[in-house]
């Protein structure tokens, strides 16, 4: 009986396997049908924003082209997860992905798979007049979104918000992403002057910790220094300038005299880790710095009593809230023997993660015509910020330039913006709309305050990687980043840099860090040759 039973079971197994296989039959080739005017789009949206279908700008775009769109809008943490599921399940494929922050490796893989279709044949005067006009103004634009296999799978976005520095070059608004702020009221309360070296800052932080600086009667609720470990704008690497570097790049990529290297394996990095462990031991660093999220961080800064002595962010007001006037920039500090080094953040004005069309789309031409409207300067303005009548005044001023309404600023942008391809040329400011005051202030501060201490203006450019380089980088970099982040956080908290350093370097080597650096270097060398 046992034998017979097992025979029955195996028959059952085979049967289910066959069933499963037939379930995954061949996919039909999508035929082009010019009459199709209905599309399905998977879209990423800002967490505060309503569904794309409810946005006036979308309704306007649909009406102009006579199309209807079924939106599948996803926001927040689930975006990556949902996007991966849709891209990899092979079923329920939408006609296009918009604002879904596609990574280069996703674009290349899905492009070569045939999931995304090449778009270059649609980029012409007839189908995409606005984009073609833009390409005429910025001839390099299409090269930045061409993948190593020679195809364009995603449409470009350009944002030239920057400034011309006294050295004659243009710099981007994010050249120094982490601005440190220090509480000058507290400085006065402890009777100390603005620190210029890292050791002076140390003494100031000790004083912040010991005294009741905010005067609420509790000497223990002052947090001398708070940050978010590894965060692009709330990180702490601005303080590393005292050890000769800053580590703004998330991949720890740095360049000096044309030679690319890995920042987190340098001797300077080791010294910084050792130094800041001392601060942690003395209780100068917020113990939540390694686990808090943006909302906790901002709550600390903008709460009833000011709690933060020194913090880091894109700008002071967003974190400090109503206490913003009490803070002042704490610019780059120097270390022993006057060491002071800054590595600028990498400069990029173009992106290409906003729009891709899938092979499921029956009428790509119309869809491309539809999205081309996003490259119209006035529509672009409304995509980046919000609609005319809500974010901008209904009528332009006497120069024909749109002015922000009183409600603009704060979180209105996050509620009205659309994650779609767009253009923002440096010449658009003052012609179609004015630059927002916050951005203007940040650019001025970067040039006039923060750039004063910058000696080295070299940065890694936006290069185009070959297929092979992309593969090397993608296979290794995410594990390397995780490892560096975990190990460094543990060093600052628990110490042990001296003992752990050799193991750390060996581990990085065995994880392929040298291959990754070599890939960065060869892409850079090729870029230098091409631009010369």
């Amino acid at each position: 009986m046992k034998k017979r039973m097992s025979k029955a079971v195996s028959i059952l197994l085979v049967a289910t396997m066959v069933m499963g296989m037939t379930a995954c039959g061949k996919k039909e080739e999508t035929k082009v049908d010019k009459n199709v005017k209905k599309f399905e789009i998977f879209a990423g949206i800002s967490a505060l924003s309503p569904d794309n279908a409810d946005k006036p700008i979308i309704q306007q775009m649909n009406k102009a082209m006579g199309v209807t769109i079924d939106w599948n809008c996803i926001s927040g943490d689930t975006l990556t997860e949902k996007k991966n599921l849709v891209l990899n399940s092979g079923t329920d494929m939408p006609d296009a992905f918009m604002g879904a922050s596609l990574s280069d490796s996703e674009i290349i893989t899905n492009g070569s798979n045939g999931v995304f279709i090449p778009l270059e044949k649609y980029i012409n005067e007839d189908t995409m007049p606005n984009l073609s006009k833009l390409v005429k103004e910025r001839p390099d634009l299409l090269a930045t979104c061409t993948m190593p296999d020679g195809h364009i799978y995603t449409l470009p976005t350009i944002s030239e918000m920057g400034f011309k520095y006294s050295d004659g070059n243009d710099y981007y608004i994010g050249a120094i992403p982490q601005f440190m702020g220090i509480n000058k009221k507290w400085l006065k309360a402890v009777g100390m002057k603005m620190p210029t070296t890292i050791d002076e800052l140390h003494d100031v932080l000790v004083a912040f910790k010991e005294k009741d600086c905010n005067g609420n009667g509790d000497p223990n609720d002052e947090i001398p220094l708070s940050f978010e470990w590894g965060h692009w704008c709330a990180g702490m690497t601005t303080l590393f300038s005292a050890f000769g570097f800053t580590d703004y790049n998330a991949d720890h990529r740095a360049i000096k005299n044309g030679k690319v290297y890995f920042q987190a394996s340098t001797e300077n990095y080791k010294k910084a880790m050792e130094y800041f462990h001392q601060w942690y031991k003395e209780g100068l660093i917020d113990i939540e710095s390694f686990s808090q999220d943006d909302s906790q961080y901002i709550a600390k800064g903008s709460g009833k009593d000011e709690k933060l002595g020194v913090f880091s962010w894109w700008e002071i007001p967003e974190v400090a809230g109503k206490h913003a006037d009490e803070y002042e920039y704490l610019t780059f500090l120097s270390g022993k023997d006057g060491t002071l080094g800054v590595n600028l953040n990498e400069q990029g004005t173009t992106g290409h993660d906003r729009f891709a069309v899938t092979s499921n789309c029956k009428n790509p031409e119309l869809l491309m015509k539809w999205i081309d409207q996003a490259y119209d300067p006035v529509l672009s303005m409304q995509i980046i910020y919000g609609p005319i009548g809500k974010y901008f005044e209904s009528k332009p001023d006497k120069n024909g330039v749109y002015v922000e309404t009183k409600d603009a600023g704060g979180d209105l942008k996050a509620k009205t913006e659309l994650w779609a391809p767009n253009r923002q040329l440096s010449t658009d400011f003052g012609k179609y709309y004015y630059m927002e005051d916050r951005a203007k202030k940040r650019l001025d501060d970067t040039a006039n305050i923060w750039f004063k201490n910058v000696k080295n203006f070299e940065y890694y450019p936006s290069v185009v990687y070959s297929l092979e380089e992309t593969e090397t980088i993608n296979n290794n970099i995410s594990d390397i980043k995780d490892y560096v982040s975990e190990t460094s956080a543990n060093w600052i908290i628990k110490g042990g840099v001296e003992e752990g350093w050799d193991t750390y370097i060996n581990q990085l080597n065995s994880m392929g860090v040298n291959d990754v650096v070599a890939a960065w270097q060869s892409a850079y060398d090729r870029y230098q040759k091409e631009t010369k």
């Binding site: 059952l12 997860e81 798979n113 686990s291």
Partner: protein, 316 residues
């Protein structure tokens, strides 16, 4: 009654072919059918997707069309610097969980069984069950608030008792397992005791009366009457809990994970989620998941063998 009669007939008539015996108790098989169908649809059919662990999965080519890469993903997993730590974390977390959470429902049920004051017994039972119905998301949210370094309930208690820490309790890797297990006991011990209570209620009251007449005290009665009655159930529960040894609750480990406690909180399940769902390395994460399952099956078979030898209870 017909079913029962046919059933006995089927057992006694050993010589008849299988299908005839099956036909003679068709009502029972009909009852079994929905269960079998559900198992096939949800457990067996998806299994054919496991082949992507040996392939370089590409959605356009489908499961069976993607190129065959053999053991590439397994090799990648075992050469990963984290893999040994993850396996150790998974095994230790589940072993400790079983070790600590397994005996408590048994002890609780033996105690509850001795309670004679009905109303108190009911209230106590309800209080013990209640946490089971709180969603795991909420439990983890509560834990994060209680363990917060600023004004968290548990942190305050610890520091009032003289404990001092410069790191949040949840951020210390060495605390992770204790937090995980202690909250598991709080949440599920009451619920787990139901099955033992049910077994105890079927113990013949005359045994207890006879023991009392013979002068046995409460302790002796628990050890000689109640506990032996529980042994078969304990063994079954033990096998079942070993069956899911490597499948420690993913949600809870993931929700309690912070960047600083990954040294103990990174288990295979959270890694599979990270690689598969977030980094879309489906083949790799399937391979890791498959490895996890294979280890689990081996463990299950070993425990089953041991149980068979010691208590003559077996599932397979």
């Amino acid at each position: 009654m017909k079913g029962t009669r046919d059933n006995t007939k089927a057992i006694t008539q050993k010589g008849r072919p299988l299908w005839k015996r099956m036909l003679s108790c068709r009502e029972l098989y009909l009852l079994l059918l929905p269960g079998i169908i559900v198992t096939i649809i949800y457990k067996y059919i998806p299994m054919y997707g496991v082949q992507i662990a040996f392939r370089d999965y590409n959605p356009t080519m489908g499961f069976s069309g993607s190129p065959w890469v053999g053991l590439k993903w397994f090799h990648k997993f075992f050469t990963n610097y984290k893999s040994m730590d993850m396996i150790r974390n998974t095994v230790l977390l589940s072993l400790y969980t079983i070790l600590w959470t397994f005996p408590i429902p048994i002890i609780l049920s033996l105690i509850m069984n001795q309670l004679r004051f009905k109303r108190f017994k009911n209230v106590a039972q309800t209080i013990l069950y209640a946490p089971h119905f709180v969603s795991i998301m909420i439990v983890c949210g509560m834990l994060r608030i209680f363990l917060s370094p600023y004004g968290g309930l548990i942190t305050s208690i610890v520091s009032a008792l003289g404990g001092h820490s410069s790191v949040g309790l949840l951020d210390q890797a060495e605390n992770f397992r204790s937090i995980y297990i202690a909250s598991a006991i709080w949440q599920d011990a009451g619920w787990g005791m139901i099955i033992y209570m049910a077994t105890l209620s079927s113990v013949d009251a005359s045994l207890h009366e006879a023991a009392k007449v013979d002068g046995a005290n409460t302790w002796q009665r628990i050890m000689k009457i109640d506990f032996p009655a529980l042994v078969p159930m304990i063994m079954i529960q033990l096998i079942m809990s070993f069956g899911s040894l490597m499948n420690v609750g993913f949600e809870k480990a993931f929700l309690l994970q912070t960047d600083l406690n990954t040294a103990t909180s990174e288990i295979i399940a959270t890694y599979v989620y990270e690689q598969g769902m977030l980094k879309s390395m489906y083949s790799f994460s399937t391979a890791v998941g498959l490895f996890n399952t294979v280890v689990n099956i081996i463990l299950l078979i070993i425990v089953n063998k041991i149980a068979k030898k010691t208590a003559d209870i077996s599932f397979i």
